[in-house]
Symmetry: C2
């Protein structure tokens, strides 16, 4: 059996194949009741002028998770550890690595999915000035294979709402049941029965807990002052909040 140093030598030889590993982030938020994704306009070749998911190289000293959070912070203009950025939920989606997906060289892209409450517009004049929130209906013809990545991310987001309390990542710390319902409506693209949703949310253990507070005022067009809730400690919803069969398609 060869010794360890011989193996390391063989390794180094193989490793010099020109391979890059990047992260791309599908960052979702809800603005004005619409599900939106964070996109950047590419200034560089290839696909200059086209929109793309924010992303970049994974540095030698960081893991993919850290790289994704860093990229998200850079593009939104929020500092890591800064308020709103701490509330985002980040999870790995999947990795895309077919030969030819980047015309420059072999690139493996680890895609991430981020759920954020309503964030401020990326700061003008900063590095992030080219980033913007785009309603998903308008997010088409993206650079590289980012259309596919976005579609996969939306699929994942829609099904995660069913069996996890992730909808709470889209709203503020204190929220009303109606706000939570609007998250489901925006992500699933369908209206939900207000009464049944109310009953369901309150009956699933650990989904939400009461704050005892009441909102300062009712809805814009009327209605009583709703009660306020915060996220519970459940990681999984039991029983789940399932979509209607026709919508799953």
């Amino acid at each position: 059996m060869p010794n360890e140093s011989e193996f390391l030598a063989e390794y180094d030889a193989r490793s010099y194949a020109p391979v890059a590993v990047t992260v791309d982030v599908v960052a979702l938020t809800i603005r004005d009741g619409q599900l939106c994704v964070l996109l950047v306009e590419r200034a560089e070749h290839p696909f200059a002028g086209r929109r793309a998911l924010p992303g970049g190289f994974v540095r030698v000293d960081e893991g993919p998770d850290e790289a994704a959070l860093r990229e998200l912070g850079e593009e939104t203009g929020l500092r890591p550890g800064e308020g709103a950025l701490q509330r985002v939920h980040l999870e790995q989606l999947r990795t895309y690595g077919k030969p030819g997906r980047d015309p420059r060289m072999r690139v493996f892209s680890i895609a991430y999915l981020a759920f954020a409450p309503e964030l401020p517009d990326p700061r003008a004049g900063s590095d992030a000035s080219d980033a913007l929130w785009v309603p998903i209906a308008s997010a088409r013809k993206l650079a590289f294979d980012h259309d596919t990545i976005l579609a996969d991310g939306l699929d994942r987001a829609r099904s995660k709402l069913e069996y996890t309390p992730l909808a709470t990542a889209f709203v503020d710390d204190e929220f009303t049941i109606a706000e939570l319902r609007q998250v489901y409506a925006a992500v699933w693209g369908e209206d939900l029965h207000a009464g049944n949703f109310h009953r369901k949310v309150l009956s699933v253990p650990g989904f939400v807990e009461s704050t005892g507070h009441t909102a300062a005022r009712g809805g814009e067009r009327g209605g009583p002052k709703p009660k306020l809730y915060r996220a519970g400690d459940a990681k999984l919803l039991h029983p789940a909040l399932l979509r209607r069969e026709d919508d799953v398609r």
Copy 2:
């Protein structure tokens, strides 16, 4: 704006960081009612003598999916396109890339999950002679971070049985309801109520379809000759076949 060739030059400079991309496969099958995973014994440094998930480098001319299928074929001794290997279901699990997870260099490993019907033992004397099926209870202390990858794979497999017809990937082309039930029992590690399972499987549209045939003989210890079914065309089970809440934990 710089032109494209200037960008390509900048790219080449960055790309020579010593980075490798591999695939690792969590291949599951059921043998004698036990859920088993395919493992190889490492002959080389590091972790020589320890067991590990089968895997290897993604070649320059292939995508990650192809690489995973090729590795699985090499380790099981089955040729691609050869009978049993065509029936395996293969899906990407997630990518592991924390610095230091491989002591030699920076390695990103794209993990795959494979579901296979009972496969023959890897051929002795072939390249795959060091591979073997191990009951998951005995698959511990694996090389690298493969314990984590295996655990993630099992989580995924268990929850996929709930809402997809993937259990049919563990059985032969024609199977009985009882065989299907034993798949669930083995993967979830709990016994299921035979009557309710029967009713449920037949009531979910597209899960199984009748072949009209009947098994040649009853169970080993008695019982009538069961009817035979084949997998239906559903990709998702509606309504899902949910685990009891206590088991999800």
